[in-house]
């Protein structure tokens, strides 16, 4: 049976677990180690941790946190946030993290992707692409936590990243992030159809039906979500949850088998 990865994305800021809406207003959720432990018990496929508090080239203080997380997690962990050079990559991989997530630095220095892929293999490089729809319906890639318009079209940009050696692409719709209104299927499909590396759909999921749409209609290889796994109910009470295997099997994996 083919399984489709369902990946919780956890946002970190100053060592805390936080959650944003459309990349704004980080709300405190809790302790990241505790969250990793719970997701580990729930046997989730993979985790993506993104530090949204670090600026490109800035100081990072999460080394201890990361090695603790890596030793707790019996699943692959990807980490990103302000990573822009090879020595950082090497250090983070040595802490026991499987994959590096690169966003802003990829736009500025595509060679970095090739260098990492050559040294550590493509499977260790996830390129995170944040997109926003312009008024006339075309899409643009944004970097720096959604603040900087690169002027690039997501399809051309994704191709460039795949050619440079990206192992997979985390594609996030800024307007959908944290809203639970479903994925932006149009851009996901456009990018997924243009590159051969796996696309992880992100931003907007609130149900397993959204996962099904991302894979069935959007042609994504994997799905990611955040609010859906950390909030519960109308008042967004913090409660970590994950759909059980039987439900995923029945609803999601069935479309790929």
């Amino acid at each position: 049976m083919k399984r489709i990865r369902v990946i919780p994305v956890l946002l970190l800021k100053n060592g805390d677990l936080v959650k944003t809406v459309r990349f704004e207003d980080p709300t405190y959720i809790g302790d990241p180690i505790n969250a990793v432990r719970i997701f580990n018990d729930k046997r989730v496929d993979e985790l993506i941790l993104l530090d949204i508090g670090v600026k490109s080239g800035g100081e990072r203080s999460e080394d201890r946190l990361l090695s603790e997380i890596a030793s707790e997690a019996f699943m692959p962990v990807a980490f990103g946030g302000g990573i822009d050079n090879l020595s950082q990559v090497e250090k983070i991989l040595k802490l026991g993290v499987e994959k590096i997530v690169i966003n802003s630095a990829a736009a500025e220095n595509t060679d970095l992707i090739s260098v990492i892929a050559r040294q550590f293999g493509s499977q260790s490089v996830v390129i995170s692409i944040d997109v926003r729809r312009k008024r006339l319906g075309s899409y643009r890639v944004f970097t720096s936590n959604g603040k900087k318009d690169t002027g690039s079209d997501p399809v051309a940009y994704a191709k460039r990243m795949a050619d440079a050696g990206a192992g997979e692409i985390l594609l996030t719709s800024i307007a959908h992030e944290g809203t639970g209104c479903g994925y932006d299927l149009k851009v996901i499909r456009a990018v997924a159809d243009a590159v051969s590396v796996p696309i992880i759909a992100n931003g907007g999921a609130s149900s397993v039906a959204d996962f099904v749409a991302a894979v069935g209609t959007g042609h994504a290889s994997a799905v990611a979500a955040s609010s859906m796994f950390v909030f519960q109910g109308r008042h967004r009470a913090v409660l970590i949850s994950f759909p059980d295997d039987a439900l995923l099997k029945q609803e999601l994996y069935s479309i790929a088998n």
């Binding site: 399984r3 990865r5 496929d45 019996f74 550590f120 493509s122 997979e168 796996p198």
Partner: protein
């Protein structure tokens, strides 16, 4: 248990795990540098110590890889090839990333489990192709069926990452730790 690149430590190791991430040539060159490979060979080929290759570590056991130019260890009658999209019915994303069920092809203590559908985490663009079909003890599917676990006498390899595969992987590592040293059935390389 210890993580080591010290030939002396390996010379005394009861069992050896050969992990591997990255490129085939880089890994083979690293192994051939210094006394590391000689120490592993003595322990595995002469003394019959069990060895388990993980991911690239499993591919290194084969004769060669389409990924590089270096010779592989050649301890098993197999080669390493890139995923071939033309062999798949569906559109194939490469690398193969994620969890796949592993089906037992030949009963082997390494794959013993009580789980009904054991699944493991994969992250690879190349896979092992066995010339000797008896080598394959487990298969997985990505576009088509490929060898996910191979074994020959005291040498075994898995294409997936047991260390990142929850209880399924822990069980496999425990199975390996319980495998006896087999002086009588040492692979001939």
């Amino acid at each position: 248990m210890a993580i080591s690149s010290d030939p002396q430590a390996i010379a005394n190791a009861e069992k050896i795990i050969l992990p591997g991430v990255g490129a085939f040539d880089h890994a083979m060159r690293k192994l051939r540098e210094g006394q590391l490979l000689a120490a592993i060979e003595r322990r595995v080929l002469r003394d019959g110590a069990p060895l388990l290759g993980l991911c690239l570590g499993a591919q290194l056991l084969t004769k060669e890889s389409e990924e590089g130019k270096e010779r592989g260890l050649g301890w098993v009658d197999a080669i390493t090839v890139r995923f071939d999209p033309s062999k798949a019915v569906e559109r194939l994303a490469i690398p193969h990333m994620g969890w796949s069920d592993v089906r037992t092809a030949r009963a082997h203590p390494l794959l013993a489990t009580e789980e009904i559908e054991p699944r493991f985490y994969f992250a690879h663009s190349y896979h092992i192709r066995c010339n000797d079909p008896e080598l394959t003890i487990g298969t997985a599917r990505h576009g088509y069926e490929f060898a996910a676990a191979i074994a020959s006498a005291n040498v075994a390899g898995v294409q997936f990452h047991p260390e990142k595969s929850h209880v399924f992987g822990l069980r496999l590592l425990r199975n390996f730790s319980e495998m006896a040293s087999e002086r009588d059935t040492v692979i001939s390389a």
